[in-house]
Structure formats: structure tokens, C-alpha cells
Point group: C2
Chain length 80, copies 2
Amino acid sequence: MKAHIKITLKPGVLDPQGKAIEHALGSLGFNGVDEVRQGKFIEVELAEMDEASARAAVEQMCEKLLANTVIENYAYELVA
Amino acid sequence: MKAHIKITLKPGVLDPQGKAIEHALGSLGFNGVDEVRQGKFIEVELAEMDEASARAAVEQMCEKLLANTVIENYAYELVA
């Protein structure tokens, strides 16, 4: 079972990397880009086949290592 | 309209950051983690309201700036 995890900065947290992308898109001629935020995307391949246990494990991974929950949100989906 | 873009390394491309996460998860006691790959997640807020034009713009952004298509794949979805 695979987990697809998205980690994004909470609203209000400064995102200089997103701002840099925004400006670069502007210089390349892409108008109408209002805001860019950059986060992380992590794919974890789990041996666990039970969905409930997989969910529990992924949440623990996010809380303990993958996301800094003071400034980041996480969301995940399980893919068979 | 918002675009959620996932940029992932192509299969076979070395991912030291993913490996580091994999080892860290192992040291934290998460067994049964077979592989970890890290990519990027980018949210772009577009002024464009037409779906076809938004798709075309996002694809151009990915090809020209956001993804290095030699070693990375991209996927996106539009969110109202």
C-alpha cells in the first residue's frame, strides 16, 4: 500500500520559495498568477496491507517526523 | 481557480532525500516502510477562470519552470 502525503505551510506562514516561483513565473510572461505556495510531496511505500493500520502509521509518521505541525499542515491519501 | 501540482522524480532517478527520510523513519521504529520518495507540491492561484486555458497555462508553467522534465514528472489537478 502506498501513501501520498502532501505537506503544506499553514496560511499566514511566510513562504519565500513560493514568492520566488511567483516572481519567476511573472518574468517568464505568465500573467494572472495570484499566489504560489510551495510544499512537499512524499510517497511512502508501506508493507502494511490493512487500511486502518496504514492510516494510523502514516499519521504517526507525519506527526513525529514528516511535518512540523507548528507551521505545516499535512494531508494524505492511501493508494492500493 | 487553483492548480495543485505534484512534481516527482522519475523512477530510477536517485533520491537521497527520500532515502534519508526512509532511514529516519526506521530509526523512529516504523517498520514495514519499503521505499520513500520525496517530491514537491506547488499550489498556484490563477486569475484564469476558463478550465481549458488554465490547463494550458499550468502545463506551460510545469514545462518551462516548475519541473525539470529530464528527471522529473509532473501531475496537476485544478480545484475550483
